[in-house]
């Protein structure tokens, strides 16, 4: 079980958080102008990497804030956490 450094609250136990899947998938601004395939790409397609992955996490049993995390799925090392809207730090 991880220790996660919430950008708003600090280090907390993983049980306070929930994972919201891959990060930096922006909802298209004009969905109606997309083809079925383009919309499906946004709706369904997610990466599942062994290695460094960008993820969304929510401090659901804490401040309820969403933030981003860079995590290596092969060893669960958390390289960085950063707020929504911020650019991912270089690791």
């Amino acid at each position: 079980m991880f220790i996660i450094n919430c950008p708003y609250c600090g280090e907390r136990d993983q049980s306070e958080f929930s994972c919201g899947g891959e990060a930096h998938i922006v909802r298209p601004k004009q969905p109606t102008e997309l083809s079925d395939d383009e919309w499906a790409e946004y709706l369904f397609m997610r990466k599942n990497i062994k290695g460094v992955q960008f993820e969304r996490w929510n401090h659901i049993h804490g401040c309820r804030k969403w933030f981003n995390m860079i995590r290596d799925t092969s060893n669960d090392k958390i390289h960085a956490v950063y707020k929504m809207g911020e650019k991912p730090p270089v690791i």
Binding site: T32, W39, L43, N75, D76
Partner: protein, 1000 residues
């Protein structure tokens, strides 16, 4: 003293006799014994039968790796527990143990017949028989398996014991209280680190604590005496917590560990009192030192499973720790030096011992010592067979060929009553790999050792592949100094005398003159898999160790392959002609040893199992005989039976009252979200399918919320309380998820919106009054208020006061009747409810529950999200096109509504169903077909809601049917177990299609 209790030790108090029963017979042991040592002291080896062949099996080890000696404890009581290892349970007065897996008795076991038909039950037997003709299965195999299968009996009574959970944080956690663990804990604690040392035994010290051999000296003392003094010092250190009887169960990432402490398992029944039985520690450690030790390997040869064949170091522990000799004519069979320690212990106590060694020689000090004493050693030899059905009585040995692949020369027969075997040592790398660590293979002695990458964890001692005393002390000291950043320790200048092993040899499967097919060389003793089974699996094409394991069930018994995994790997490597290190190992998964369910759930049992949410009006419902149903965590009033009414009768009465006069429902559980901010209207536009910008202040509107995939997610009425202020309601079950979803969009996709969301579900409670007389009742409650349709129309809201308490009244309807929902701060809601009941008395106001609510809305064809929808229904499928805005540019899920899949005409669509026999009520969930007698049967839909409507005096149902929109009037069938029900597709609005009643 019995014949086998041959000496006194400091660990067993021979002044305190303890009586216990095994298979109903009374025996005696002493305080400090385990069940296993007490049985051995009574000369009992035979303790169980093997799983498949029901071969007699005896105590084989002295710890958690025990495959054979597993017992049922306290059978036929509420404290009974199956699969308890006799080697681990401490003896207490009155303990009742019985052997498992043997019927009719341990000594005469009918399942033993499997032993003679074993050529017909090879590896993969269970899988293969499934392929055979059905008749074989039912008549021959199933009865056979059923009769023989099973390991003990699970308890049938509730567990009366108390279990506990506790969180703990520390700087350093040391796992294992052997010599390396004690050195580590002392260094850590003496350097001001908050340290916890755990060990699964009741006495610290591992195998060194009974090491009295003069070949192993520390500071010129016997190593046991030196360690004893260290442990005494340890107990004085303030910032060190020592937890004995505590075994590590799991090692998760970020040094989060679970350990189970046995608190009262070792106490007699009358002394357990009300104390906690076991405690699960949830430990977060800054640094972890694993000193878990090693487990001795058996040797694999023909008939290596007879009672009386025991691991060599276990024989030594029974002798030196418990004072019990496992046999009086002992033979040691080994491939390494460590078993010579056992031989020397036996010899010193005057017990007969001989040694068989597969090596040609050994030049170590300890072997020289044995030779000097005149102990007979058969070099370069192997056991080829053993004899004795219920206990080993003799064995045959032969010389090994030059390369060890075969045997040669004459067979020598030797008598014995105990065969102590040692195939070397396997480091306990379980903890390391559970935490995510990888392993390296060390060729010289064929062991997997930790490949250490985690800066906050190290492995010391024999779990790190260090087996010699000098090496263990020196390496542990150096490693811990570096790990904890310490300059100097008590152990820097220790003088250590040990015995170095120079000659190493290992043969995973020892050779024999008998053909392999006719030998029984066991690898997994509990699951009865043999070397032959492993080879068969390879011949049948299984290559991966994970597949071979499952096919042969090797390593899948309750000991999780602690004794068998390495041999399985070794034999696969030898047979396939590959290097063992390239095969990898099977995955070591937690728990390390089995955990009780009690320890896992802790205090979360009974009423603490799950949170229960009650409305503030709950007590009133109880007083009025309500039956409750669970909706998520909520307890909701289901129906209120009068006299002896059943559910059906009560619901029929309640429904009729609600339509004929007045009914009242506790709607407090509906989710309520307070929405404020200058962009609140825009926000609602984006999350609901319909338009919100033009909703006037004081007006209410029904909204449907989709997922981005276009499927209906939630629904509810939202009221505009002010220019920038809305109150949203959600379904009872969906409240938390809807709030999370909305927060997600606000924070991540639309951070530019000025909107704030607050859950107010618990802050307000709701009394919903419906029926043609509801307006009159509201008038009585709020005499100053104008309830005319002009002043207070349908779908609008007004604030009002009752006894000076602020109320929000919404005129909205989920039943199709004229209806008002009164929201009030929760603390006043019971009083409001009671006022409503009093005011409604003259109209016979009838409280109704969720069942009647469901019926009433079904009559009107209103859907319930989660009952009539299942995450695969679009609003178009539900024939709710009217609520999907064509004008809005975008909302959540809009684009998905015209994906090629969602515009298919043959999707399941919501319809009404009427049974041809109006008294026949369909079963919810029943499947629907269009033709009878079709093969294969094609299901075209299913019933989602079904009731008998007292207001229409007939059965009605909602259903989803493929292409159902175009089927009105069509005949369909609902096939049931013993009949087919004829139905006709109808409109799904059964009552008051013109909506006259809401303004009645």
């Amino acid at each position: 003293m019995t014949k086998y209790r041959i000496s006194k030790t400091r660990f067993v108090d021979q002044t305190k006799t303890v009586s216990f029963t095994f298979d109903g017979k009374l025996y005696h042991g002493f305080e400090g014994d385990t069940l296993a040592s007490a049985l051995l002291s009574n000369g009992i080896h035979l303790v169980g039968r093997s799983f498949k062949y029901h071969r007699p099996r005896g105590i084989m080890s002295c710890g958690s790796e025990e495959p054979n000696a597993i017992c049922q404890i306290n059978d036929n009581t509420d404290l009974t527990e199956p699969n308890v290892r006799a080697t681990e349970i401490e003896l207490y007065e009155g303990l009742k143990a019985s052997s498992q897996n043997c019927w009719p008795s341990l000594n005469f076991d009918i399942g033993g017949i499997n032993n003679f038909i074993s050529p017909f039950i090879p590896a993969g037997f269970y899988y293969k028989t499934f392929m055979w003709p059905k008749s074989f299965w039912k008549k021959i195999y199933e009865p056979l398996i059923r009769m023989s299968a099973g390991l003990g009996k699970s308890p049938t009574l509730p567990d009366p014991d108390i279990y506990d959970h506790k969180h703990e944080h520390c700087d350093v956690l040391v796992i294992g209280g052997g010599i390396s663990g004690i050195i580590s804990a002392k260094i850590a604690a003496k350097n001001n680190l908050k340290t916890i040392l755990i060990d699964d035994k009741n006495v610290l010290g591992g195998s060194t604590i009974y090491q009295n051999n003069k070949n192993f000296l520390i500071d010129n003392k016997k190593s046991s005496e030196w360690l004893m003094k260290e442990i005494a010092e340890l107990e004085e250190i303030k910032n060190l917590t020592i937890k004995t009887r505590t075994s590590l169960a799991a090692y998760h990432s970020y040094n989060y560990l679970l350990a189970k402490e046995n608190i009262s398992d070792h106490l007699p029944l009358d002394k357990k009192n009300d104390s906690i039985r076991q405690r699960l520690w949830k430990i977060r450690a800054d640094k972890v030192i694993v000193a878990a030790g090693a487990i001795e390997r058996p040797l694999v040869f023909n008939n290596n499973d007879r009672p009386g064949i025991i691991l060599a170091n276990s024989v030594k522990k029974y002798l030196d720790f418990y004072g019990v000799s496992s046999g009086l004519k002992n033979i040691i069979f080994t491939n390494n030096d460590s078993a010579y320690e056992t031989a020397l212990s036996l010899f010193e106590k005057g017990i007969s011992v001989k040694i068989i060694d597969i090596r040609k020689k050994s030049t170590s000090n300890i072997v020289k010592n044995a030779e000097e004493l005149g102990i007979q050693i058969y070099w370069n030899s192997t056991v080829v067979n053993t004899f004795g059905y219920k206990k080993v009585n003799s064995l045959e040995i032969m010389h090994l060929s030059e390369d060890g692949s075969n045997v040669k020369g004459n067979i020598i027969k030797i008598e014995c009553d105990c065969l102590a075997i040692s195939g070397g040592w396997t480091p306990m790398v379980h903890m390391h790999t559970q935490s995510g660590g990888k392993l390296d293979f060390r060729e010289i002695d064929q062991v997997f050792v930790p490949n250490e990458k985690n800066e906050n964890q190290i492995n010391v001692g024999s779990c790190n592949g260090e087996f010699e005393l000098e090496e263990i002390i020196k390496n542990t000291n150096n490693k811990i100094k570096k790990f904890l950043n310490v300059n100097e320790t008590d152990f820097d200048r220790l003088s250590v005398l040990g015995s170095k092993e120079f000659e190493k040899k290992n043969i995973w499967l020892l050779p024999n003159t008998i053909s392999e097919g006719k030998t029984k060389s066991f690898i997994d003793f509990q699951n009865d898999s043999t070397a032959k089974d492993i080879k068969l699996a390879l011949r049948e094409g299984f290559k991966s160790i994970e597949h071979v394991k499952r096919y042969t069930t090797t390593g899948m018994a309750t000991d999780q392959g602690k004794l068998s995994n390495m041999h399985a790997l070794g034999i696969i490597a030898d047979t396939a002609g590959v290097k063992m290190g390239t095969l990898g190992t099977t995955t070591f998964r937690p728990p390390f040893t089995p955990l009780t369910f009690g320890a896992l759930v802790g205090r979360n049992v009974g009423k603490f199992f799950e949170v229960i949410r009650k409305t503030p009006i709950h007590e009133w419902h109880i007083k009025h005989n309500a039956k409750f149903e669970n909706v998520g965590q909520w307890k909701r009033a289901w129906y209120y039976p009068l006299n002896d009414e059943n559910l059906h009768e009560a619901v029929q009465r309640e429904s009729k009252a609600a339509r004929d006069s007045a009914g009242i429902l506790d709607a407090s559980t509906l989710g309520k979200i307070d929405i404020q901010g200058t962009d609140a209207s825009e926000f609602l536009n984006r999350v609901y399918t319909n338009a919100w910008s033009k909703l006037g202040i004081g007006k209410c509107r029904y909204g449907l919320m989709l997922n981005e995939d276009g499927m209906v997610y939630d629904d509810g009425v939202t009221t505009r309380l002010g220019e920038n202020h809305y109150l949203m309601t959600t379904t009872t079950g969906g409240a938390a998820n809807v709030l999370s979803k909305l927060e997600d969009y606000l924070q991540t996709e639309w951070p530019e919106l000025d909107v704030y969301l607050t859950s107010v579900t618990d802050h307000y409670s709701t009394a919903s009054i419906c029926g043609p007389n509801s307006k009159k009742i509201l008038k009585k409650l709020f005499p100053d208020k104008d309830f005319s349709d002009e002043a207070f129309p349908h779908m609008s809201y007004q604030s009002a006061k009752i006894d000076n308490a602020e109320c929000r009244i919404m005129r909205i309807s989920f039943t199709g009747e004229l209806s008002y929902e009164i929201n009030i701060e929760s603390k006043y809601s019971k009083s409001l409810w009671e006022s409503c009941i009093i005011a409604g008395e003259e109209y016979k106001i009838t409280p109704y529950g969720t069942e009647t609510m469901h019926l009433l809305r079904a009559e009107k064809g209103f859907i319930i999200v989660g009952q009539d929808t299942d995450g695969t229904m679009t609003p178009i499928d539900l024939q709710m096109d009217w609520i999907v805005s064509k004008k809005k540019y975008d909302f959540i899920g809009k684009r998905s509504l015209y994906r090629s899949d969602t515009i298919r005409e043959d999707r399941k669509q919501l319809v009404g169903l009427l049974t041809d026999n109006p008294n026949e009520i369909l079963e919810e969930g029943a499947q629907i077909v269009s033709e009878l007698g079709q093969k294969p049967v094609q299901m075209i839909g299913h019933v989602t809601s079904s009731y008998f409507s007292p207001n229409l005096n007939k059965s009605i149902a909602l259903a989803v049917v493929k292409g159902g929109k175009k089927m009105k009037g069509q005949k369909l069938f609902v096939p049931m177990e013993n009949k087919n029900i004829n139905v006709t597709v109808s409109d799904f609005i059964f009552l008051d299609k013109e909506n006259k009643r809401i303004n009645a």
